[in-house]
Symmetry: C2
Subunit: 364 residues, 2 copies
């Protein structure tokens, strides 16, 4: 986390109420608004600030542009026992994805596993939230989504893939659950913007300019610059990050009948949609697998604790530099913020005040 400028602290409940108020005034049902708010605030409390209430302005922009349906009828359009496809009816991904995940969990109870492809949706927040919905059921959860094209394939200078995240959540016994949640980009755009604000040089490999060449000039992000796939540079296997992003794009976009590649609808309303869309909206893919179908859940969870303990006690490079397991840092932030509050920087606070004015709400 990087705090810049003036910070204000909020409780989770306060941020949740702000998000609910905004979604309700946009026309959402109270139930859907509460669901969407829960996804957003879960990002804030876990320290993934870029995907929390700071995004409200973006959702409002898309809604004003007529790109989000606040009263979607989320329906199964095709199914085959453990698998199904959902039409999100142009709704908020924050609402559509958790509904699809609930169905996946129901299918997993019936068939051992459940897998849903989702078309006609929008940005779904943090992938980890949806994967983690499986945890209380002693299931492994997974979620993927495609996203605004901002990454060129290896050898290309055209943005064809989004940050396309992959998340898996694994239940544990006494330890915190293991949550893998990663964008298939080398770094998030937010990290480059923070470096810019702080006047720091970024490492070679974080971004390319509009010609596809490695660039360390952060100003180029606003002039056709793009992110890189995980791996960063061709010599460090950026083709693997490109392959992972492709895998996510096919599972979420092609399999569901959503858009894919350069046609994925951008999150920002000022960017136009491309013509000749091959599908509907944005795509997700979610899944749940019951542990009991593979191994007694108690045994698996004890082994997960053992796995985590063995990684936590792996020999360190520097004695004072801890080895973290995937998802651990987010749990640590959640524990800290639950006590001390969630910091929002002045830009986000101003954005929320602006939304309050726009809608005649006293949000803060």
């Amino acid at each position: 986390m990087h705090f810049c400028g003036f910070m204000q602290l909020f409780t989770k409940e306060k941020l949740r109420q702000i998000a609910i108020d905004v979604f309700c005034v946009m026309g959402s049902s109270t139930k859907d608004a509460a669901l969407a708010a829960d996804v957003l605030v879960n990002a804030d409390i876990r320290g993934i600030d870029s995907h929390g209430v700071s995004r409200l302005v973006g959702y409002v922009g898309l809604w004003e542009a007529g790109r989000i349906n606040m009263t979607p009828k989320v329906d199964i359009v095709r199914e085959r026992k453990s698998t199904f496809t959902i039409d999100g009816d142009g709704g908020l991904g924050l609402v559509v994805a958790p509904k699809a995940m609930r169905i996946a969990i129901e299918r997993a109870k019936e068939y051992g596993s459940g897998w849903g492809a989702i078309q006609n949706s929008n940005h779904f927040g943090i992938a980890g939230y949806h994967a983690m919905m499986a945890l209380p059921h002693d299931m492994i959860g997974m979620a993927m989504t495609n996203a605004t094209p901002f990454i060129p394939p290896t050898h290309s200078k055209q943005a064809m893939l989004g940050t396309n995240p992959i998340a898996y959540a694994f239940p544990t016994d006494k330890r915190r659950p293991l949550v893998v949640d990663l964008a298939t980009a080398s770094v998030a755009r937010g990290k480059i913007e923070i470096a810019k604000r702080e006047g720091k040089q970024i490492p070679k490999g974080w971004m390319v300019d509009k010609h596809g060449n490695t660039s360390q000039n952060v100003d180029e992000l606003k002039d056709g610059g793009m992110l890189t796939p995980l791996g960063s540079l061709e010599e460090l296997s950026s083709h693997k990050g490109y392959a992972l992003g492709s895998l996510v794009d096919v599972m979420t976009g092609v399999l569901s009948g959503a858009n894919y590649g350069k046609w994925v609808p951008p999150f920002v309303s000022f960017l136009p949609m491309l013509p000749n869309l091959p599908g509907k909206g944005l795509g997700h893919f979610v899944g749940a697998m019951e542990i009991e179908g593979f191994r007694p859940a108690s045994e698996f969870k004890a082994s997960m604790d053992h796995w985590i303990e063995s990684f936590k006690s792996a020999d360190r490079i520097k004695a004072d530099q801890e080895v973290f397991v995937p998802g651990e840092k987010e749990y640590l932030i959640e524990e800290e913020r639950s006590v001390n509050g969630i910091p929002l920087n002045d830009v986000v606070v101003k954005d929320l005040e602006g939304l309050g004015k726009k809608f005649g709400l006293s949000l803060l």
Copy 2:
């Protein structure tokens, strides 16, 4: 591909027969030997030379050390409709994994998807082979395995993860199938060894020394040096490669009841097994999903062609530098080698001659 020293050309059939002869003399049934040989030779014809017949010497070494059962009874030990766990009975992964994949495909016909965790197995060759078994059934295939620990987690200097590959195969209509098959390491050990033979400097990020620090001295690979997770360096998000490797280790090792982390049995027979093993043998995870459960298969395959064509025609950085889609290069090599033969370098040829002498076979 890098050819060093004297090269000899072989047909696919010849290499297949060599592998069958070796597996048979090790005690394999003719049927199992043919299956295992097919997996190996599929790697050779696709240009993944490190995973082809060059590995025969390694399998023989493990068998001589009593670590491979050549007449395994491969059985389902637990199941729940779309999910199951297989005990590989200490057999060759080359035999155990395709058998598990066949079951996954059967389950997918019945329930829309099929998922198998495999314990008590050994090295299974290229992950892509198993994933691609789903293609003729109009299914998406996937396969993962854990492997000899050779990668330290971020902040650690202890090898806790193998190259832990992930493979997904997607059927197409007129284009070659899209096959994602990648190790979650930054680069393969073989690539570093080739650089060493050729006296070339390796890029920063390919390996670390025994203290966990970045090293460009390839000699350190034999002195406790290790590979890095995809991402290569902490500043380029090596924690994401570490998270992906962890995801594979848990799905293959913990979920199945196999070994995981530092306890995964090494491929080379001269390295001892660690004491206090938490599971049985090495672990895999395979799966198959019927396209029809999500979308009409013909529609999906036409969209896959369109996806591939749009990526192939993405704007290039350099006009003469083609944009490849995942798995394309391997298909191109397969097409070339099917005509011209498969080159084996003199080290591999000598190894095979040595096996011939050992077993009293005229292999070449």
